[in-house]
């Protein structure tokens, strides 16, 4: 899939030929720096790209059905019903002027054939499920009467309201403090298992990925540079960028004076270098990296977009 933004100064490619799949009940972590295209990928999937952004190429399928070219009204029915979303900031995700119950009931009744009473019963069920204490008494309160962590639980209940197959969780824990983060991650994992829902977990926090995800896709400058099972990627990162990311996480018990960091900054969208977009910052860059762009190359259970792994591939006879 490719997402581009036509601007006056030329077309910016925010997501460049990104491809991945998700199984029911699986959590796929998508990690990368700000501006790497993680959220953009998520918005593209639920069909909520801000204008003038648009999907320029590729396809999105849900359950074998192509959904990226649906008419807006049909896509709207998909949102919430088949694909749920959780956003970063629970403090701003809920309408401050409407009761919690009204917002959830509204969502349920939009997608499911229920009357007010049934929807209310389901609302209570959902709130209990996401762990709102005294949900029956509190469901008619307003968002500002809940703490940040509680509000994120309500947001999750809203995303679950119509029982979607896929949930796009865009930085669901970033705005929360650490102890609440762990609770929310645990909640997401449990819900994912109980409902057999696939979750696309977008974050820049490797710790969250390690905790929650089954597989992880590392994004850099709009492309996936490494995609594989979490264990492999964390323990044995292959792409120099992923390695750099891992090295920059301080380990407990290790006396580090200076944190390792990757030199330089991610290129802006209008100045992506030719060849591998990471080459100017890569410690292992070769001549080929500056000219030719690497595609994903299978490496065991993972796939890596890096020329360092090209030889073996060439030996097997695949270009």
């Amino acid at each position: 899939m490719t997402v581009e933004f036509p601007t006056r100064k030329g077309t910016l490619i925010a997501v460049d030929d990104v491809s991945f799949d998700l199984q029911p009940g699986e959590i796929l972590g998508v990690v990368g720096e700000s501006g790497a295209g993680k959220s953009m990928t998520g918005y593209a999937i639920i069909g909520l790209l801000d204008r003038p952004g648009r999907i320029a190429g590729g396809r999105i399928e849900l359950d074998g059905e192509r959904i990226d070219n649906l008419p807006p009204e049909k896509m709207r029915r998909f949102r919430g019903r088949r694909i749920g979303a959780i956003f970063q900031d629970p403090l701003t995700s809920l309408n401050p002027l409407l009761r919690i119950s009204d917002q959830i009931i509204e969502t349920i009744r939009t997608h499911m054939d229920m009357d007010e009473r049934q929807a209310r019963a389901r609302t209570l069920e959902l709130l209990n499920e996401v762990g709102i204490p005294a949900a029956a008494e509190r469901m008619d309160e307003y968002p500002h009467q809940f703490s940040g962590g509680m509000r994120q639980r309500i947001v999750i209940a809203l995303a679950l309201a119509a029982n979607p197959q896929l949930i796009i969780a865009d930085e669901p824990t970033t705005a929360l403090d650490v102890s609440i983060q762990a609770q929310i991650i645990r909640l997401l994992k449990r819900l994912c298992k109980d409902h057999d829902t696939a979750i696309m977990l977008i974050t820049h926090d490797m710790g969250v990925i390690a905790e929650a995800a089954d597989r992880v896709a590392v994004m850099y400058a709009g492309r996936i540079v490494e995609l594989g099972p979490v264990r492999d990627v964390i323990k044995d990162a292959k792409h120099p960028y992923t390695k750099g990311l891992m090295d920059s996480i301080p380990a407990i018990g290790q006396d580090v004076r200076v944190l390792a960091q990757i030199k330089g900054a991610m290129p802006r969208l209008n100045a992506i270098p030719p060849g591998c977009s990471f080459n100017p910052r890569c410690p292992q860059a070769m001549d080929r990296c500056r000219v030719e762009r690497p595609e994903l190359i299978t490496q065991g259970a993972s796939a890596v977009a890096c020329w360092l792994f090209a030889e073996e591939e060439a030996g097997v006879g695949v270009a």
Partner: protein, 328 residues
């Protein structure tokens, strides 16, 4: 809620007393009232007697207290120009001004809010652009010019609408209304349009910018991500959140409409308080001027009180703060 109303009422009383003080000092600033009331050849003894009778020799605070007392009782004094009680004059004129103001405000709201919503939801359509262009004209043309142009077109050239007055009025005993007769409605159309035009453009632009602002917020994005219908997103979620500033401005503007209906009333010779006030200024008719001042202040205070209460109805966050405040 009740605590809020009581607190606001106390504040309102302070405001009203301040305005009354200003209105009271009007009498002193424009010269000796006795000199204005009597003829040139009145003897000094007569003047002194009148001064004594009017209580002008009493200490100023006592005079102010008497003034406030009289005003509260609805005794606004006697007009220098017409020689009738100001209270009765105002009571005669009040319905005309209030009717004009409310029709104008209603027109501004009923047309301005939908136009604002439309231009915010469909910013690219040519109709939105047309609305915005027209609103620019409406906001920049002076009121009297619009009024005169309307008179020229509908009154003189087409001859459809009367150019002055209220038309036939029905006396309900406590209130004379022009809204129960056809000629009354015909008469109010042009003045109300003239008076409401500026407010309409203001409200439209306010609703539009607030709505655009709200549509960018996360909770709207989240509402969309939940697959709610565009109707539910726009009217259930976005519109409600634009209401608070709209209520504020509308409240302030309604006060403004009543107070500044003067120009429109003059253009259309509308027999309201504005016209009365204007004539009072020409003749230095202090009792009328000061009473008008007090009355308009009263309207502003009442409207603000209603606006404050409406805030609390619309925005639950304010209700809670109140409870917390009361608990402390």
């Amino acid at each position: 809620m009740i605590a809020l109303i009581i607190r606001r009422l106390i504040q309102s009383i302070v405001v009203m007393l301040t305005v009354a003080l200003i209105a009271f000092t009007l009498f002193r600033f424009v010269g000796d009232p006795v000199a204005q009331m009597v003829g040139q050849d009145t003897s000094l003894e007569d003047r002194a007697q009148l001064r004594e009778r009017l209580g002008l020799n009493d200490p100023v605070p006592l005079q102010f207290a008497r003034y406030v007392g009289n005003t509260v009782k609805g005794n606004f004094g006697i007009s220098y120009r017409i020689g009738r009680p100001v209270g009765a004059l105002l009571a005669e004129r009040l319905p005309a001004t209030l009717e004009l103001s409310f029709v104008a405000a209603l027109f501004a709201l009923l047309v301005g809010i939908p136009m604002g919503i439309y231009t915010a939801l469909h910013p690219e359509r040519w109709l939105s652009k047309a609305f915005l262009t027209i609103s620019l004209i409406g906001i920049s043309l002076p009121t009297f010019l619009i009024g005169i142009l309307l008179i020229l077109l509908f009154g003189v050239v087409l001859g459809w609408l009367p150019t002055f007055g209220r038309g036939a009025v029905v006396d309900l005993g406590f209130w004379t209304t022009g809204l129960l007769s056809v000629s009354g409605w015909k008469s109010i159309l042009m003045p109300a349009f003239t008076l409401g035009m500026f407010q309409l453009t203001l409200i439209m632009r306010l609703v539009r910018s607030e709505m655009l602002e709200v549509l960018r917020t996360d909770f709207i994005k989240f509402a969309r991500a939940r697959g709610l219908t565009p109707r539910a997103v726009h009217f259930g979620h976005a519109l409600k959140n634009t209401l608070v500033p709209v209520i504020t401005i509308t409240g302030l503007q309604l006060g403004g409409i009543i107070a500044f209906a003067i120009i429109t009333e003059t253009v259309f010779q509308w027999p309201g308080m504005g016209l009365l006030f204007l004539q009072a200024i020409q003749f230095a008719d202090i009792p009328v001027m000061s009473s008008y001042l007090v009355l308009i202040a009263l309207f502003f205070v009442i409207i603000n009180l209603i606006v404050d209460i409406l805030y609390h109805v619309v925005d639950p966050r304010l209700r809670i703060e109140r409870q917390v405040g009361a608990g402390q």
